[in-house]
């Protein structure tokens, strides 16, 4: 085990793994409360998580920036409604610096293994930077972070250049190239319009058409930004308006007829307006209920796929031979580059294979029937382990930052309670964990995630459960999961609020 220079943070009260919105959000709150005994372990060489890794052309958020940011650190400087990824990354780097997190960050510190010790009731995390010990372990490792490549025969033998959208190769010039884009999800529809500008030929492999609604993006003027700076309340009001508007969109996810019809109309009238050719329009029309997969926002995707140099192949990529990519319809395309925009490991998280709780059992093993956690934050058999943005937190209709902040509040209250109770170990029973998961399953069963007739990354294909999703209003997550109730950790099912 390589132990480098002595590190004052080898032994702390809280170890946070991951320096994205979740880990930094918790770190900022700890700092603001004057805590110093915590370390943030990050495998990469900078903070930012998703926003450090995703640098593809056109990358931007799809929840408006005034809302897609911390409530406790609103930002008057967003250049536009949907800020480019670089700005979001800068926002996080600035936040980490200004909030005093730098001394707490350890980069290149991949959590290789985290183990609970039954004897001293503490966690040990092994990393390439040595071992770290802590009373509490927080997995803020994300669930759109480990890339997933499609299982396509011959993909690894492709003779051209190949990379994933979240590992963009900026050194490879794409101008005038024949490019294939695999996938039509959130990343792909941002990438395609950019590549359509420069590619000699662009082939988009579409397994299933997404719903796309108008983006309504716009610049913030200097005068507006100045007002945001001068009157903080104006930013908050915009945030609140966006939040409650987004939350109202959950009615469509719950399949309430009027709102479902409205959501459908917003998407299909957009398609009709932008795509005159009925045949192409049919190809671009989804075959499931809106909201089952992530609803995308774009004004330039449909125009892009109609460019003469762009071909929309209405079939998945099936195999690759040399420089030829074959679709499931048997069509072959000669390509110089393949951009794989097929998303991430979502339901079977790599980090769960590295965390070992009581009796040396791995979290992945514990989750072999699908991941779940009491209040989306605590699991049975893993004392003093807390998960941020883990199971049951993903949203199709509102900002994930809101969910993360609710979890941080729960966690801070849990830490307070621990220190007021002699550092007692916090662990939930399987009964509590299962009861919570059952209730979420019941709620999800009434939503489009389960009933929408699609297979999405919200679902665990091993069991059909929507283990990643919070199947309700975002506000209800705060109402029900942000409060910390020690009774739940003592096995009292009456403490379940969902």
């Amino acid at each position: 085990m390589p132990t480098s220079t002595p590190d004052a943070l080898r032994d702390v009260s809280v170890i946070i793994v991951g320096a994205g919105f979740s880990g930094l959000g918790l770190g900022i709150q700890l700092r603001r409360r004057g805590e110093t005994s915590f370390v943030i372990l990050e495998r990469a060489d900078d903070v930012g998580g998703s926003w450090r890794d995703n640098t593809y052309p056109g990358v931007a958020c799809d929840v408006p920036s005034p809302l897609y940011s911390y409530s406790f650190r609103t930002n008057p400087d967003w250049s536009r409604m949907f800020a480019p990824g670089q700005e979001i990354w800068d926002y996080l780097r600035t936040a980490a610096r200004e909030e005093g997190l730098e001394p707490h960050l350890r980069f290149g510190a991949d959590m290789l293994e985290a183990r609970w010790s039954e004897t001293d009731h503490r966690w040990t995390v092994r990393t390439p930077q040595g071992e770290f010990h802590g009373d509490v372990l927080v997995a803020a490792t994300g669930h759109l972070t480990d890339i997933k490549l499609p299982e396509v025969p011959g993909l690894d033998t492709f003779t051209g250049e190949l990379f994933h959208s979240a590992r963009w190769n900026h050194d490879f010039p794409l101008d005038g190239k024949r490019i294939g884009v695999v996938g039509t999800g959130a990343s792909a529809i941002q990438i395609v319009p950019q590549l359509a500008e420069i590619a000699e030929r662009l082939v988009v492999f579409q397994r299933s058409a997404p719903y796309i609604q108008p983006r309504r993006d716009r610049d913030f003027s200097e005068a507006e930004k100045n007002l945001f700076r001068r009157d903080q309340r104006t930013v908050e009001e915009m945030r609140e308006m966006l939040f409650w508007y987004n939350d109202s969109r959950f009615a469509a996810r719950r399949l309430v007829d009027d709102f479902l019809a409205e959501a459908m109309w917003q998407a299909l009238s957009h398609l009709e307006k932008q795509v005159p050719d009925p045949e192409l329009r049919a190809t671009l029309t989804p075959d499931y209920t809106i909201g089952c997969k992530r609803v995308l926002l774009s004004d330039d995707y449909y125009p892009a796929v109609q460019k003469p140099n762009v071909h929309l192949e209405a079939a998945a990529l099936e195999r690759v031979a040399g420089s030829t990519a074959f679709s499931a319809s048997g069509q072959g395309f000669e390509l110089d580059v393949l951009v794989v925009a097929t998303g991430f490991e979502t339901y079977d998280l790599p980090s769960s294979y590295r965390i070992f709780g009581r009796a040396g059992r791995s979290l992945a093993d514990h989750w072999s029937n699908g991941m779940q956690a009491y209040n989306s934050i605590a699991t049975a058999g893993f004392p003093n382990l807390f998960l941020l943005n883990g199971p049951g937190t993903s949203l199709g209709h509102n900002s994930v930052i809101y969910m993360i902040e609710a979890q941080v509040d729960h966690l801070l209250a849990a830490l307070d309670w621990r220190s007021a109770h002699g550092g007692r170990v916090l662990e939930v029973s399987s009964e509590i964990e299962n009861a919570f998961a059952r209730r979420l399953d019941e709620v999800a069963a009434e939503t489009v995630i389960i009933r929408g007739g699609c297979s999405s990354w919200y679902l665990d294909p091993r069991n059909g459960r929507a283990t990643l999703s919070w199947p309700d209003f975002a506000h209800r997550f705060r109402d029900e999961c942000a409060p910390f109730d020690p009774a739940a950790y003592d096995g009292d099912e009456r403490a379940l609020r969902v």
Partner: protein, 291 residues
Amino acid sequence: MSTANTLAATAGGVSENHGSLHIGDLEVNFFDSVEERGDFPPIVLVHGTGGSTRSHFSFLFPMLAARQRVVAVDLATPQGPPEEGTARMAEQVQAVIEKVLPARPVTLAGYSLGAVVAATAAGARPDLVGGLVLMAGWLKTDAQQRLRNDVWHALRQSDAAALRRYQAFCAFSAPLLAMLSEGEIEALVASFRTDDVMAAQMEINRHVDLTEIAPKITCPTLIVAGTDDLMTPFRQSKRLFGAIADARYTEITSGHAMVVERPAELVHLIAAFNADPNEYPAGATLPARRP
């Protein structure tokens, strides 16, 4: 009398039964989500002026019914002196509660004129009402409201098109209207309908006076005001806050049409209140929500 359309609440696991009862020569329609979910008291919704369950609660009914039983009343507009209008309507609400949800406390939630009706019912029959939510309600019609009411009646006589524009202008908040495109404004304007029933309700609105009733309300009460409400300005909600003993108060950034502008925030407020009416003590102003 408002007609009862079928409510769009049959999907998402929520279904509803439609029923009616007679009080004198008035037929009162109601909707019932039937299924009990969780241990929360049922919620009874009462719509506002010119509205119906369908037009005011197409969001609130199914979304609240996802977690607890919901009953909504379509008020029938009584003939007779307008001073007695709200009492007659409150009787309808009381009759529906007694028929559909006998012998158990309910949380009664009224919007606009429905808030006045709900408060009247809670004051008259404290045995029926365990909790009260008053959205965009008012205590006693004041001169500002009568002035608006005058303009409404004058436009109804003289200019139907202008009346619709005036209604849209009064119902929604300035920030919301400012955001809309011309087409969206026109669609909004066109959605306003007036008829003799609504005119009769506007007459009832002129004569609201809860000053005697409010002190008789004993149950926990949540008062929800819209910051940008021109029809029942938030100061009216504050007057209710002063007049009802066990009241707590909160504002949402919205015009009068809060059931359309901020429906998810209302679901949050009503559901949280229903789960624990005493989460905040009497006299409290709820902490600001900063999502």
